[in-house]
Amino acid sequence: MKVIFQLILKRIGLSLITLFIVSAVVFFIANLLPGDAAQEMLGQSATPEAVAALRDAYGLNDPPLTRYAKWLGGLVTGDAGTSLANSRPVSELISSRLSQSLLLAGLTAVIAVPFAMVLGIVAAMHSGRRIDKIMNIATLTMVAVPEFLLATIFVLVFAVELNWLPSLSYIPSDAGLYDYFRAFALPVATLCIVLSAQMARMTRAAVLEQLSQPYVEMALLKGSPLSRAVLRHALPNAVGPIVNAVALSLSYLLGGVVIVEVIFNYPGVASLMVDAVTNRDMPLLQACAMLFCTGYLILVLIADLAAILANPKLRTGG
């Protein structure tokens, strides 16, 4: 247990350093964007005097380092600043959207993870046979198709042509279960397909590697049927790599969610972030970027922990 505790502490420390570097990169890259909030807000016809006055009010005329230090200081004390576009606290804006994004990601994970595991295990058990080859082609194709293309095709087919589902993911305030289903069907399906393809491939590889181990042969020679040898012997040892793969895939989901939220106009953090880019709303943009990065680091940490917890040798510290 001590080993794991030390590892968590070490990884949290490293994550903080990573976050610090990310904050600098995010800040300076965001500042490379042409134009600023004052310009965006007042529009093309604004007088230079008005723009300058607004800039002054926002503190945009300070040297970048000063602004960075101020922003970072605020972030450390829990104050992510105020949105330049609508003058509300950034934390308030994000928290209203965060639950929506988590709901989308959570639903996707709940469906995609078991689906991918079953696919991967079935493929591994039938490795080299037709069912495995078909799955191989299918998953490879899905990994190669970018989610914006898939999402667009879904909209075209199910919303425009067949008119079965709405193309926008809008949830009315008095929504019933059916409304929720209609709103989530397309975005969740898009994310699930891309994600499960990736995870199924990694699950297959992890299980297949265990299947070639002598202890699986031993289990078969003890009279265990193949299914039992896979589920009782190979799978527990593949859990580490599989959870690792799942966590890494879910961190990939964070990127996918940006595109999917925008295409289906889903009211999550990601579409908030894209709006922030359009409005040159730097405090909001930076906060969103930091949030995604933190989510990513947490998932990677979970992946590493899973690898350790799945191994009794490391677990017992022996």
Binding site: Y215, M218, K222, G223, R228, N311
Partner: protein, 595 residues
């Protein structure tokens, strides 16, 4: 009485169904109930393949293509997977070569031992666990009541191998297949495991098939021996007949590979190439007192002379491979010094210059992993030629050809990829790669342990010949004392990182020995079938933790001739015996001779 096991015209094929390669050719034999049959041969002889067919099993890529394998009334060759599942583990059981790999690392031992009993529904979990504990005791495992609660990595290799035998015997099978069950063990551990197996098989009157490449081991276990070569039966006779009067020339070749002729060269007066003095080394952080956190080696000194072979011997964990790494500079020593051709050598390889690196070359144990399978032989040998001697183009090609000729391989191999070579060929390339640098010393770390007996004998012969031709010094690290005694001019015995005995190869020909060396020497099985039964000591390491930095005798917990009151209170002195060797022991020469 009809035979219990009848294998009739068995044929096994491998490869693709369109272009099958027959790997077992029309093998037939039979076995009475309660008999032990040994399948013996080199790798590729089909011995494991044949043994596995008795479980109706063929490894992926292989299949039984003809013949019958009758175990009692069941023909294992024509059963469906579902039928086989009900027979395996219950009627026929299997003990695999490496217990460490054949136990599932993430499940407790007891769950795995009783699994087949529960799967076949022959007894309740409680009854199965009680039976398992009985078997543990019968196989003389320590603390039989609780050992099942551990995970496989928490018990030793020898114990794990016996636990696997318990796993096989849990359902009282009619037939047990032992697939090289002691190959991965130290000789001292092997004795105990063999004894336990033999007793267990006898007590239950089980029919057994024992697969091995080691004739001396088989001589202890088997009633009959089936000699195989390339999937064909060469000879099938009772053990006593095979040992005393082998019919087939191949059997006689196997027998002669076991018996070394003791030719020991003596070049004690040539100049010292490598001198090692008071080396201490270990792993982990260096503590304030200058010692590493996990000490491995302490106070090791020796001299290696030109044209001489120094053997380093010990069980696994004795620090012998660490010693090679220290000499090579891969693991810098924490104290002590080394002189190469009378000049001080930096302890870390990063500080050594090119010339010093060139003069000390290492031949790794496992050529399969030491050589990149995707590289051509010519590139592997050519790289050190360019690096150390600046050879390129035709000159380099010429030298590669010479090196191949030196290790007796055809020159055409230069264009082949390493992955396509046999184990013996790879080990020769591995050796040639070290020789390419034109070193003064080569470090051979267990270079024959992964090879078959006959191939290993050929590699040893080659080493001797190369040494005579090139006048290089060899540090030969091995766990096999009979090889070392035969090959080496000087022998160093390591136990838990201390040098317990050191002397000329000749002085190791007979007692007195250090008690540990004595254990090593007497643990090597001989071709005498009575050998195992005549051995009665149990000297497996006790569970007293003795660290590699203990200043008292580190062998005291296993020593049968320990002097009470002395060995556990005072550090042992280094004694010079009349044969010229030094021994780290409280007993003097007269006392050692009588022990």
């Amino acid at each position: 009485m009809t035979a219990h096991i009848i294998v009739d015209n068995l044929q096994v094929q491998a490869g693709s169904p369109e272009q099958p390669v027959t790997i077992v050719h029309n093998v037939s034999f039979s076995l009475q109930r309660g008999e032990v049959l040994a399948l013996i041969g080199e790798s590729g002889s089909g011995k494991t393949t044949i043994a596995l067919t008795m479980l109706g099993y063929a490894r992926p890529g292989c299949w039984i293509s003809g013949g019958a394998v009758m175990v009692g009334n069941d023909n294992m060759a024509d059963k469906t997977d579902a039928q086989l599942a009900t027979l395996r583990g219950r009627k026929v059981a299997y003990v695999a070569q490496s217990a460490a790999a054949a136990f599932n690392p993430s499940r407790r031992i007891m769950d795995q031992v009783v699994e087949s009993a529960l799967m076949h529904g022959v007894m309740s979990r409680k009854a199965a666990e009680e039976k398992a504990v009985k078997l543990f005791a019968q196989l003389s495992l320590p603390s039989p009541d609780t050992i099942g609660k551990r995970y496989p990595h928490e018990v030793s290799g020898g114990q794990l191998q016996r636990l696997m035998a318990a796993m096989a015997l849990i359902c009282d099978p009619e037939l047990v297949i032992f697939d090289e069950p002691t190959t991965a063990l130290d000789v001292t551990t092997q004795v105990d495991v063999l004894k336990a197996f033999k007793a267990a098989v006898k007590a239950t009157n089980t029919t057994a098939v024992y697969v091995s490449h080691d004739l001396a081991v088989v001589a202890q276990m088997a009633d009959r021996i089936l000699v195989l070569q390339q999937g064909r039966v060469m000879e099938n006779n009772p053990t006593t007949k095979i040992l005393s009067d082998a019919e087939h020339p191949y059997t006689r070749q196997l027998l002669s590979a076991v018996q070394h002729s003791d030719i020991v060269q003596n070049k004690a007066d040539s100049d010292v190439v490598l001198e090692i003095a008071n080396i201490e080394a270990g792993y982990g952080r260096i503590k304030p007192d200058g010692r590493p956190e996990i000490p491995i080696l302490s106070d090791i000194s020796m001299k290696v002379r030109r044209g001489q072979t120094v053997g380093i011997i010990g069980e696994s964990g004795s620090g012998k491979s660490t010693f090679a790494r220290v000499i090579a500079g891969l693991l810098p020593a924490s104290s002590g010094y080394m002189l190469l051709n009378k000049r001080e050598l930096f302890s870390a390889i990063a500080d050594r210059d090119k010339k010093e690196c060139q003069h000390i070359q290492m031949v790794f144990q496992n050529a399969d992993t030491a050589l990149n399978p995707a590289h051509k032989v010519g590139d592997i040998l050519g790289r050190p030629l360019t690096f150390f001697h600046g050879l390129t183009g035709a000159a380099r090609k010429q030298r590669v050809a010479e090196l191949l000729e030196l290790v007796k391989l055809p020159v055409e191999l230069a264009d082949r990829k390493c992955g396509a070579l046999s184990g013996g060929q790879k080990q020769r390339i591995n050796l040639a790669r070290a020789l390419a640098a034109e070193p003064s010393v080569i470090l051979c770390d267990e270079v024959t342990s992964a090879l078959d007996t006959v191939v290993a004998a050929a590699i040893l012969e080659l080493l001797e010949e190369l040494q005579a031709r090139l006048n290089i010094a060899i540090v030969f690290i091995s766990h096999d004392i009979s090889t070392v005694k035969h090959l080496c001019d000087e022998v160093v015995v390591l136990y838990k990182g201390s040098k317990v005995e050191h002397g000329s190869g000749k002085s190791f020909a007979s007692a007195p020995y250090h008690p540990y060396t004595d254990l090593l020497v007497s643990s090597v099985p001989t071709l005498d079938p009575q050998w195992l039964d005549s051995r009665n000591q149990d000297q497996e390491a006790r569970n007293i933790p003795i660290s590699n930095s203990d200043s008292l005798c580190r062998f005291r917990d296993r020593c049968t001739v320990k002097l009470n009151g002395l060995c556990d209170s005072e550090a042992p002195p280094s004694r010079k015996l009349s044969s010229g060797k030094s021994v780290l022991c409280h007993r003097d020469e007269a006392m050692l001779s009588y022990s």
